[in-house]
Symmetry: C2
Subunit: 406 residues, 2 copies
């Protein structure tokens, strides 16, 4: 059993770096605070005798040797960068739970057959630099190191400059680092476990995600003198599409998701008919086929509305993350461990992308979810219960021990 208090204390200590007045954390990828966070976690790793390796995209691996150094490591981790209004647990929990597993093995003098590694991946959040899940994405070959290096923040600083500046541009070629299996413990970031009163989510896979930008172009005109029948009101057309994004998700099974999160109206003045509306579309589902069907329905309505109204509608895909099933054995191992430890558990699906999605392309992978308060995440009020954090970490300890061989 792991030490829940020690895990909690480490989480709270790391959360001090970038702490916000409302109890959250703002520690954007590759800023000074990210460096401080990285320095603290690696100092804890070194104190536990781990060997630290950094690759060229700044992913960090901290290794505890196994009896058989030829075996690829059993790895666990997540990320320590946060959203601008982020919480203490998103990502950080997965990294510090992995460290707590190592500390527990040390407490009991347990040596494993395969090495154990604690990993944290660069810029999972994508708040400061896009794409999201950058470090694990480069590691898995989803996009190139050069592409990631060139990404710029709002001030025009590149990932490469910032990695160099904070001293986390390593020698190792991303991906040239074998993994035997990968586990990631994470808060659910949704309300399902809490609603069901269940402690452990056995994650079977991650939903497929497609992101689009949609632009409806009308003609701005004065709200008073322009009769209704002579208007080209971009917002009136856009709102019908925004509703279809949700309606279509509801027609496509329990895992269908449709969200319009971002809207920009031009010129955004009280007495001017909107001349242009841009908005984001986020579609998700359990299979890529289902996501594609949602996208087709939204696009079909866009064509119909454009023909009816005469207003051009442009829909452009900006990102796509295929649905990912996790390894059957890893999933079963999580379920077995939860049962053995006496924790209530249920099958779960991850609606959000995680570094585990990319890891799953390279090695057998599993995820462990625990409840978070009101399902809220990406928010300073994000919260999780110490007993849930401890339970998830105990499951992680079990699956890593099983996999690495005691």
């Amino acid at each position: 059993r792991i030490n829940g208090q020690r895990l909690w204390d480490s989480l709270m200590e790391l959360a001090r770096i970038g702490a916000t007045p409302k109890g959250g954390v703002c520690r954007l990828a590759l800023g000074d605070l990210d460096r401080q966070g990285r320095d603290l976690v690696t100092s804890w790793g070194r104190a536990a005798g781990l060997t630290v390796t950094v690759d060229r995209i700044g992913n960090v691996f901290m290794r505890r040797p196994g009896r058989n150094g030829a075996l690829p490591p059993v790895m666990a981790g997540s990320h320590i960068d946060t959203q601008p209004t982020g919480g203490k647990f998103d990502g950080n929990y997965g990294v510090l739970a992995a460290l707590e597993v190592v500390r527990t093995l040390d407490d009991h003098g347990i040596q494993t057959e395969a090495p154990i590694e604690v990993a944290f991946w660069t810029n999972e959040e994508g708040s400061r630099f896009v794409p999201v899940m950058m470090g694990s994405g480069v590691f898995a070959g989803a996009f190139t190191l050069e592409h990631a290096y060139a990404a710029k923040d709002a001030e025009g600083r590149t990932v490469k400059e910032e990695l160099a500046r904070i001293g986390y541009i390593g020698e190792q070629v991303p991906g040239e680092h074998p993994i035997g299996a990968y586990f990631e413990a994470h808060i659910e970031q949704g309300p399902v476990l809490e609603d069901a009163g269940v402690t452990i989510g056995v994650v079977h896979g991650v939903l497929g995600i497609r992101w689009f930008d949609c632009t409806v172009t009308g003609m701005e005109a004065h709200a008073g003198p322009t009769p209704m029948e002579l208007r080209k009101d971009a917002l009136q057309v856009a709102t019908r599409l925004m509703q279809e994004v949700v309606a279509s998700a509801l027609r496509h099974g329990p895992h269908g998701r449709g969200t319009v999160g971002m809207v920009q109206v031009h010129p955004n003045s009280r007495n001017v008919i909107p001349g242009q509306v841009r908005f984001s579309i986020d579609l998700r589902n359990a299979s890529d086929e289902l996501v594609d069907r949602q996208a087709s329905e939204v696009k079909a309505l866009a064509e119909r509305l454009s023909a009816e109204s005469g207003l051009p509608i442009h829909i452009e895909q900006v990102s796509s993350y295929p649905a990912q099933q996790f390894d059957r054995e890893c999933v079963q191992a999580v379920a077995n461990a939860a049962a053995r430890l006496g924790y209530s558990h249920m099958a779960a699906v991850s609606g959000a992308g995680h570094d585990a999605v990319y890891a799953a392309r390279l090695a057998p992978t599993g995820m462990i979810f625990i409840p978070c308060k009101d399902g809220i995440s990406h928010n300073e009020i994000e919260d999780a219960k110490p007993e849930h954090l401890e339970a998830g970490c105990n499951v992680l300890l079990q699956v890593m021990l099983d996999r690495a061989g005691a």
Copy 2:
């Protein structure tokens, strides 16, 4: 007949003050450019022998004596402040057309029985300081001088400070200035005249206007892990109301108008379900009763949606301008003058508020509309044809002469 070239040249000269690269004008109320514009117009007035009076809210009256100094003046005017991306004609046309009437009377050595006055009112646009139609509103007693003085721009500067700074805080008490009749020539700011191929709009009145702010409060949550049935998506509820604003206007006759011009989504992030949406509602119609019915329908749907969804919806009225019928004799005089001069004309209603709305509370009032290109206004590409500008000014000359007595 007025001198169309002189009118055009004056419009173009005034438009140089605050000219924008795209051919428009940015001359915000009470800024340095507004002072330059005021100085130019009053210098033209003085050159024509007019006596200039400024009142405490900066309204400017330029008087040409009549044979009978005891008669209240026949006044014409508008405003010379512009939108941030304004055009050359909105407001400026009404002021310079009135000045052109004076110049034409001088050319022909015509003396009138009643005095003639050229007026321009402070801050009609309301872009820098709210409320809109500030100078004429204080003049008509719609709100107090103190209320107007206290209005602040985005940098925190008050109307009173800025009036004093540019030297246009006069002695006269606003409203203590008799008016015999008021006429305002203006571009239509809508597409109806151009669509109909008609030169002169005989304005019967101004639509009633109600402005509301609406806030729908949901709960922000991650777009991935949050199942559809557990969401409180503020945007999905808001978009239904936005559509009702338009649908209700369409159900209430030819003059019904409904516009959502401004939308703010919080936190406005691609993968976050909107937790709050604020938007503006602009309702207009030919009678206050019809506007109120539109408002009732929107509010009724808001209550139903709030009950269905559990999301609080708050609708707050921020402004109200009653519908205003213009004086029957003044309206008829405009129609007669257009007919006499051989211009095509049609009955029109003003969908936009104008200084004439407030003037109509104090004196018999009429308005003359001319077409503007594509009905576009509040835009740097605002444009009007010299022959239309000339025609409207000729109508203005006739009605002023008729009223003042030659």
